[in-house]
Symmetry: D3
Subunit: 134 residues, 6 copies
């Protein structure tokens, strides 16, 4: 199921073709996953989304690739994005995440959620020591 029609032949549109070619070249794989196939219903949205993902997640940046995927998984879990949890867990695996690292990641995400709910339930004032704004 989907809220948009996945084009039968998305690469008939040259803008879509160019993005898909770049995805394949950047990721060194022939596989283009469903997020990009669905976004092909609007080439401009596809281009902008891929540009963002490529710049931060596919190119070398300050943080190492596996750390970036783990942060991405953490946000996706908290936002209850089923598709994103699946796709970024697969990406983290492809970048070397072991079962033990995956388990520890889930344990930390779960602990954070636990103390997030405690703190939101207590509604406590933020310690002045934490402020960097002044």
């Amino acid at each position: 199921m989907s809220t948009v029609t996945l084009p039968a032949d998305p690469e008939a549109d040259p803008r879509v073709r160019a993005v898909f070619d770049d995805i394949r070249a950047t990721r060194k794989t022939d596989y283009v996953n469903n997020l990009w196939r669905a976004l092909a219903f609007d080439p401009a949205l596809l281009e902008q989304t891929w540009a963002d993902v490529k710049r931060l997640m596919a190119a070398p940046t300050l943080l190492d690739p596996l750390t970036k995927e783990m942060v991405y998984i953490a946000v996706s879990i908290a936002n209850a994005c089923s598709y994103c949890v699946h796709s970024h867990t697969a990406a983290a695996r492809a970048k070397g995440m072991t079962d033990a690292q995956h388990a520890e990641l889930l344990a930390i995400v779960a602990l954070a959620a636990k103390t997030n709910h405690l703190a939101n339930g207590l509604q406590l004032p933020v310690d002045a020591a934490f402020d960097r704004g002044a």
Copy 2:
């Protein structure tokens, strides 16, 4: 403001005292932040919460300390826990997070939120290639 009364002298209770002493010893600081002071209204809840945090966040584990704090910040942002974003950003700073790393962390959290909302708006089927359950 707070939904619980912060005890005026929490360490009068020996169970609270023991936890606060352990927080100070483990973190090598005299400062005990408001989360623990508020949890002192129920010593059992305080003990259990600190035990969880100590085991995963204060002790050496598989993931490095800064990565763990960044994952914690990511979840806290997505769950809109103001107190937790403040306390764990301060903790990450104490563990060496630079401005540039902080900015990249925020950029990745924001990008994940963006594609989380896109994927939840598209409601697309998960690629079979991502499944590890079989």
Copy 3:
């Protein structure tokens, strides 16, 4: 799957029948979707929920019908309600939403999520200029 038993013949109950008849008459369609079929397990909850939806979404109000559906989709995406994203995207389509409008809606929802997470990560003070309460 469902957490409630969908009645085999919900319209055997006259209260359910009355609501379903009103849904069909108001929407000018024979189709009653699964949300209402599931809510039929409790006629009072069904009646109250339909009354709310009818008053705001099915009757003419200040905002135009398509704007209302787009706001509804936006909230449903942020709350990760898969059923609601599907049903209200279909409703927006029925009210004339084009592919290009849908794509722009998703782009704005995604951008809002991005800056929501940035602002929650920065924890910045609200500008006094934004206050209307005084």
Copy 4:
């Protein structure tokens, strides 16, 4: 701060006056809290919201009053509604919630959040045994 102007003399409007009178009579108190004062900027929204709250939370229903407040607090924590956590914790206190009950409520909310994030991270299939829809 607020996104709406709190009327200086909200009860000059007879519709607002009628709702405020009903709030005071129903709750047996002279105090009308800020949510209702803010909603007074739109009398229709005020009337509808109070009617909903009165029917479910102020009148006797199937569930006992304290259980209802605890469920309300739980949802408000998970939705990160600071105002609502404060107001419903105060309401639960007024209905007899002790410190020990409050602590256990927070512990359960925090545990639920923990396993919510684990399950959303694991993305596991729902057991057929849980289905009631068939």
Copy 5:
């Protein structure tokens, strides 16, 4: 689908076997649901999670068992955890929740969500009367 491989024979690991035996004995059933089968990919995470759930949800505590399940369902709905809504609704049914109680629980969760969003939209100041921190 799942982001982890569900072990074909999880109880071959004695740590997993011990947890599964305790789940069966505590719950007086032969059935071990998918959450535990999935967590078996990391025995330490399985042990800690079960210890938490057993202490609060399976053992007698201050709050009655059905109230605890209803609070758990409420948080799981707000956090959009499909698996958890299913499993804890089934657990609440097993502890005696009727259709009428279930409907009222859903009505209160929905009302809380409604006023959570109103209050977050209004961004109103918390009444000083609600503060217990002083």
Copy 6:
């Protein structure tokens, strides 16, 4: 309070100056709000975020400016971003949103949240009629 240090003289950096100048020119106002001042701690993040906001929210696009702000407010409420609710409600006011439109927007956001929680509590199957993916 803030998790980053707001530069005392952010426009000493020419990249920040260029963005602030563009914000002032685009919005036809001298005022630069705190989000941009905080993002100035990392000029690249500031540039990218402003580019996104300018393209979708400040330039003419398919949807009218007020509809876009209302969608933005809706997402910000659901994501519990206090800063964003304040800033985009002020922006919607500046674009002509009346009290009555604001009240109706809040009513629809609240109704959507209500049925989101009902549907997530019922966990119902999506109607085949809603699928556009085939």
